[in-house]
């Protein structure tokens, strides 16, 4: 399959390793990965902050970059950005009275998958150790990010895949389904509430005794990681793509 990588702005700029991991996993399975260079961002920050006219060029850019016949499916290592592409892009187009853009947005959305959605639902991966050679000899816990869990309905896809990584121990995170408090500019506009939510998340992660908290969204992990780092807590954060890409030969270190 020819797979277009939608790296997402935060991974592109801040966590390039996660995008490389995504490429590695897919190439390991024998697929061809392309990176449409016109891509930049899904525009979620603008939309969620209420800046709709400012979001429009960002959304249009994404649709222009991905509304091509050049690939079979698009994939992103993010539940949140994929949910934005699938749900928010058509909504913005509708809201701004652009029916043509809405149709194009829906078409792009229909071909865009979150990484584990693609791996499990399309590529039939159920055992990471066997099918991807994944190996990661650490004890981790896992935070299911809200948009992946609720907007995309990922269910246990991410957790189940992580559990099948070779050498791994996955400790259950108490109150896992509770938001970490990131919410984009919510973390700035309502910093106090956001911090109170983060505090509980950090506490719960530390209670698992894991050396890392994994998840499917770099943004939430940056938020959680920022809280862990500030409180001097031991656990690190690591995107699940990096864990799935880790192998016996090239083991990712924390």
């Amino acid at each position: 399959m020819r797979i277009a990588l939608f790296a997402t702005c935060i991974v592109d700029a801040m966590y390039p390793e996660t995008a490389k991991s995504t490429v590695k996993i897919l190439e390991r399975l024998g697929h061809e990965v392309i990176f449409p260079k016109a891509q930049a961002c899904c525009g979620q920050m603008h939309m969620n902050s209420g800046y709709m006219p400012e979001a429009l060029p960002v959304v249009e850019n994404h649709i222009n970059a991905f509304d091509t016949e050049d690939y079979d499916v698009a994939v992103a290592p993010s539940g949140s950005c994929v949910a934005s592409v699938k749900h928010q892009h058509p909504f913005l187009a509708e809201r701004l009275g652009k029916p043509e853009l809405k149709e194009r947005a829906k078409a792009v959305g229909a071909r865009t998958y979150e990484l584990t959605q693609l791996l499990v639902d399309v590529l039939g991966i159920t055992n990471a150790a066997e099918q991807l050679g994944s190996y990661f000899p650490e004890t981790i816990t896992y935070h299911p990010s809200c948009h992946g869990m609720r907007s995309l309905g990922l269910g246990d896809r991410q957790l189940d895949l992580l559990k099948t990584v070779g050498g791994i121990t996955v400790n259950e995170l108490p109150e896992a389904d509770q938001c970490c408090g990131f919410g984009g500019t919510f973390s700035i506009k309502n910093a106090d509430v956001s911090s109170a939510m983060l505090e509980d998340k950090v506490k719960n992660i530390c209670s698992t005794g894991a050396s890392a908290c994994s998840g499917g969204d770099a943004s939430c992990l940056m938020h959680i990681g920022g809280g862990l780092s500030r409180t001097g807590a031991k656990p690190k954060t690591l995107h699940l793509a990096d864990i799935l890409a880790s192998t016996m030969e090239e083991t990712v270190s924390l």
Partner: protein, 490 residues
């Protein structure tokens, strides 16, 4: 974009407003550790109960789909539904009144009570009368209104404000409730314990005489059935039955959005509502009445149909589904923001996720006080998942943020920091080559991070982030550049 709405309700809208911006109110409430403990306990126990009873129904999603469609249809044909209800309710001996806003509704009710000669009324919990501030108004007119729902009683006796739509005293624990009873009830056992059953018994004793002697009762309604003219009240304690049955005069105040097209629709909502709200298979008591029944219950029966901003919300085609709300409170029970700030932080009668959309929809987002409400959410989506009528609260929150930014754009001459950030971001993220250009500066960020590779302090509005979180040092090279160097050059 939402059309400009011309028929704007004028005059007093009652208790629908923030007194201060949400972040400020939230900051204060977050410091109330006892309240946070109480709320955490209550919301967590109700979450589990709700999941259990919802999980019992194999057709829960089918019920949600039906409930959502029935409500949408009702809103789409609201004029016909209301006229049909009026015709049927009137034919059965009821009297229908219409109120444009809170002030008008308060006046209608006051005049009706006066007409009976009564100087006191008993009340069964009603969001609509809370919204319009009826009790305060009656009091100013020399009429005593006695709340009879246990939680409302706790709030009224404690001279407090409701903080939850189902359990208005959710922010109080049993010991605090006992203390209020001991202090405020004229006749009370001084050895009253904080056992909930004993507290319920004290409330029974306190209100019994009031019920038996009441001449006038005021209620809300959970639904009105257009094709039969029937009203329904869903409750637990029997205080509702007392109010709806014993007095001679019954005055119901109900928002116009509560009307359902067909009486069979009750079968959908009476499955959705109790399980979503108290986490019970069914609430202890539900009463339905159609106008006046000879020889049974009140013989003077009135309803006040209340607009108070509902038509304004209806005009917003991206926000109107907020009117589908059946006031179950599931959204606030699952909300991580509500759990930590409590209901008082939202100012309005309607707190939590539904309040964050409903209040500004009813008043208009341009009302400064309510402009901060749509931001009171991390958009985690737990509310949408729990909503029995599938109101897409996160989407409406985002829509209202858009309305707020647009409204402020017109007001402010100078752009705010956020405006500038978003404008800059729009350019930077609007083209692959623009973000690519900026990413060339990533090594500068590494310099800012220093030795321990953490950025600990940011200026301006971003300081909110670094108050409690570090930012990692950025990488040397973006993925985009790595791709160019490693993949394309080979």
């Amino acid at each position: 974009m939402t059309q400009v709405f011309l028929g704007m309700p004028a005059g007093g809208q009652g208790n629908l407003f923030e007194q201060e911006p949400f972040p400020k109110a939230a900051h204060r409430e977050l410091g109330n550790t006892q309240m946070r403990k109480n709320l955490r306990h209550a919301t967590h126990s109700i979450r589990d109960k709700r999941l259990k009873v919802v999980g019992e129904l194999p057709d829960w999603e089918a019920l949600r789909n039906a409930g959502s469609t029935i409500k949408n249809n009702s809103m789409a044909t609201l004029e016909e539904r209301l006229l049909e209800f009026e015709k049927n309710f009137t034919a059965r001996g009821g009297v229908v009144h219409w109120a444009r806003d809170a002030d008008e509704a308060n006046k209608i009710v006051t005049d009706l009570v006066r007409g009976t000669g009564a100087t006191e009324v008993v009340k069964v919990k009603s969001m609509a009368t809370q919204e319009i501030g009826l009790n305060e108004h009656l009091e100013s007119e020399g009429i005593d209104a006695f709340e009879t729902d246990l939680a409302e009683l706790i709030v009224q006796l404690g001279q407090d404000k409701p903080s939850h739509i189902l359990v208005p005293a959710i922010h109080k624990n049993r010991t605090e409730v006992r203390d209020i009873f001991l202090k405020e009830m004229p006749v009370v056992d001084p050895n009253l314990t904080d056992e909930p059953a004993k507290l319920a018994e004290a409330a029974r004793a306190h209100l019994r005489k009031k019920f038996l002697a009441a001449k006038v009762a005021i209620s809300g309604a959970n639904f009105a059935l257009a094709d039969t003219g029937t009203l329904g009240v869903v409750e637990s304690e029997g205080n509702g039955r007392m109010c709806l049955t014993l007095p001679e005069t019954l005055i119901t105040v109900m928002g116009i959005e509560k009307v359902l097209p067909h009486w069979e629709d009750v079968e959908v909502f009476m499955q959705l509502l109790p399980r979503s709200s108290t986490g019970e298979r069914m609430n202890p008591y539900t009463s339905l009445w159609t106008g006046v029944t000879e020889d049974d219950g009140p013989q003077n029966v009135h309803i006040v149909l209340l607009d108070n901003g509902r038509t304004r919300a209806l005009a917003d085609r991206f926000g109107r589904t907020a009117l589908n709300c059946i006031r179950c409170s599931a959204c606030m029970n699952v909300c991580p923001v509500y759990e930590r700030t409590g209901g008082h932080a939202y100012g309005s009668t309607y707190p939590g996720p539904i309040g964050a959309i409903l209040s500004p929809l009813l008043t208009g987002i341009e009302v400064e006080e309510n402009g901060s409400l749509p931001y009171a959410s991390s958009l985690c989506g737990a509310c949408y998942e729990a909503c029995p009528v599938k109101i897409n609260i996160p989407e409406i929150l985002v829509h209202l943020r858009g309305e707020d930014v647009d409204a402020k754009r017109e007001k402010h001459k100078l752009p705010t920091q956020m405006d500038l950030l978003m404008k800059g971001g729009s350019w930077a993220l609007g083209k692959g080559k623009n973000i690519g250009l900026l990413e060339k500066a990533l090594p500068l960020g590494r310099l800012a991070a220093g030795k321990d590779k953490k950025i600990k302090k940011l200026p301006g509005i971003a300081a909110g982030w670094t108050k409690s979180r570090d930012i990692p040092a950025p990488p040397n090279k973006s993925f985009r550049d790595w791709w160019s160097d490693e993949k394309e050059s080979k």
